[in-house]
């Protein structure tokens, strides 16, 4: 190629690059105008003070709007006014927070504060039903506030884009009348419980996983708090989050709706709340069960007669777990026991003899896989017949390299450590694929679905 030709190629490349940039700008511009009809509200700082001017009568529009609940004798004008003078803080703008917030907005609660530190992802939409496709990447708190305001513009919606922490919880909670625990992790649940007790606010607590849900009202009318029931946090390894355990969207939908109902009952002062009671919902069995709970415990560390907790503590340390549901990143293997996704792809290309063990559940394996493998779910690696199966496969096929893969690269390490110990006699090297399928998708094959 002579220098003249070179120059013309370079010019051509520059021209195409510019065209590409112009087209990208156009795409962004079109996207913006497509979503331009929706502007999410600004998130508020924590020191934003609620203007609590009491509303003393209902205008004609409100009477019509709330007429179907207004004519319930338990509610009436008095109850409706109580609702409009009540402020509720919803902590967590997810599967529980969404239905809870929208029913409270519909019912005419005066003020709804929404706390969440997170942004919307596509995998949230099946249960966090106020968020939309066009809002992915945006702040969850602002999204919930926008949806509530759209439904009922007379409700004051205040989004807070922040992590609820021991530093800010009291200041925030003190401003509200009723607190809704719509969070997704143990540390925040203890934090919220203690803060609610210290501020003397009722806490309407919901939780959901898989097909099951639970609902209770804590710290209300001398009933028990979360700590009365669970003085000690659960061992972190026994706690499952929605990302690992799965959850059907309707289940938090039902529990979140019930949380809204409890808030309304508390705001109006109706009896028979879930104070000192626990609702167990099993969506698969189609059963609702009502459990009688212990009363407030005199020796409770926070709400007892002589409490040892008088200010908020470090809850991540107390629970031995992070205050989110994002899952952990383990490092338990030596570098020599690990291989990158890229390196494993080279082994696949070279057709080098090996065994791949996938330790995900069979239902996950159906979603996607890295080709031929032995499926030994992490929950059953300790079973004798599974170990035997690995041993036989290795012996029958003269294998001397075994790789273990999972979704994110935690379980695969646990499995490698276990196999290496139990199958030492085989004298072969087990390695885990660092970062699992997530790493494979990032560095080898972008077409692999993530879940």
């Amino acid at each position: 190629m002579n220098s003249h030709e070179k120059l013309s190629y370079i010019n051509e490349i520059e021209k195409l690059k510019k065209e590409l940039k112009d087209k990208n700008d156009l795409i962004n511009q079109l996207n913006n105008s497509l979503n331009g009809d929706e502007k999410l509200p600004k998130v508020q700082s924590l020191d934003y003070s609620l203007n609590k001017e009491a509303i003393s009568n209902l205008n004609n529009e409100n009477i019509l709007r709330y007429s179907r609940q207004l004519i319930l004798p338990e509610i009436g004008v008095k109850g409706q006014l109580r609702l409009s003078n009540t402020s509720v803080l919803i902590v967590g703008a997810g599967g529980l927070g969404c239905p809870s917030a929208i029913y409270l907005a519909a019912a005419g609660i005066g003020t709804i504060g929404v706390v969440d530190y997170d942004e919307i992802e596509l995998s949230n939409l099946h249960r966090q039903i106020l968020h939309t496709e066009s809002r992915t990447g945006l702040k969850k708190s602002a999204s919930v506030a926008a949806s509530c305001s759209n439904l009922n513009s007379s409700v004051k919606c205040i989004p807070y884009h922040t992590v609820l922490s021991s530093k800010n919880a009291l200041e925030l909670i003190n401003q509200y009348d009723i607190i809704v625990d719509a969070t997704d992790n143990v540390a925040t649940r203890y934090l919220l419980n203690d803060a609610a007790v210290l501020c003397q606010k009722p806490l309407v607590s919901g939780s959901a996983l898989k097909f099951e849900g639970q609902l209770t009202v804590y710290n209300y009318q001398n009933g028990p708090c979360f700590r009365c029931l669970f003085p000690k946090p659960p061992p972190p390894e026994t706690v499952t989050n929605c990302s690992d355990g799965g959850v059907l969207g309707v289940v938090p939908g039902i529990i979140g709706s019930l949380q809204a109902l409890e808030v309304i009952k508390i705001a109006i002062g109706l009896p028979d709340t879930f104070k000192q009671r626990l609702l167990l919902f099993d969506g698969l069995a189609g059963s609702f069960r009502n459990i009688g709970l212990r009363p407030r415990q005199k020796n409770c560390a926070v709400c007892g007669d002589d409490p040892s907790i008088k200010e908020l503590i470090d809850y991540e340390q107390f629970c031995g777990a992070k205050a989110d549901d994002k899952g952990k990143n383990l490092t338990i293997l030596e570098q020599s026991q690990r291989i990158s996704a890229k390196e494993f792809s080279e082994i696949l290309k070279s057709k080098e003899k090996h065994l791949l063990i996938d330790v995900r559940s069979p239902v996950e394996l159906e979603i996607c896989d890295l080709g031929e493998c032995l499926n030994i779910p992490i929950g059953s690696i300790e079973k004798e017949d599974q170990l035997k199966c690995i041993e036989n496969t290795i012996k029958d096929n003269n294998i001397n390299k075994v790789f273990v893969v999972c979704r994110k690269g935690n379980d695969s390490q646990i499995a490698v450590k276990f196999f290496q110990e139990k199958l030492t006699s085989l004298g072969i090297c087990f390695q885990d694929i660092r970062g699992g399928l997530y790493a494979w998708q990032k560095s080898v094959d972008q077409s692999l679905p993530l879940y």
Partner: protein, 96 residues
């Protein structure tokens, strides 16, 4: 003595994912929840007993119910089990 054991909220995963178990306790002794817990560990639990029991009592995060009521209302592990009782073990959920 026939009783029903129930596991839910994830506790069933320690028991072959079966939520309800009809069990027949030997009539040789007086059964308390305390001795029942050890019987469950020795007879029903497949593996990982530490995810169910710690220091011979139920691990933190599992609520024990006696006929749909908190065991705290019945003296916890001292409660004497009667025929046809339903004893439930509810692991608390934290997802949302």
């Amino acid at each position: 003595m026939l009783i029903t054991l129930e596991f839910s909220g994830g506790a069933e995963m320690l028991f072959d994912n079966k939520k309800s178990h009809e069990v027949n306790l030997p009539d040789t002794e007086k059964w308390t929840i305390g001795s029942l817990l050890l019987w469950i560990r020795d007879n029903l639990l497949r593996d990982k007993p530490e995810l169910f029991l710690q220091d011979d009592t139920i691990r933190p995060g599992i609520l024990v119910l006696i006929n749909d009521a908190d065991w705290e209302l019945y003296g916890q592990s001292e409660y004497v089990v009667e025929a046809k009782d339903k004893i439930s073990f509810i692991s608390t959920l934290h997802g949302g």
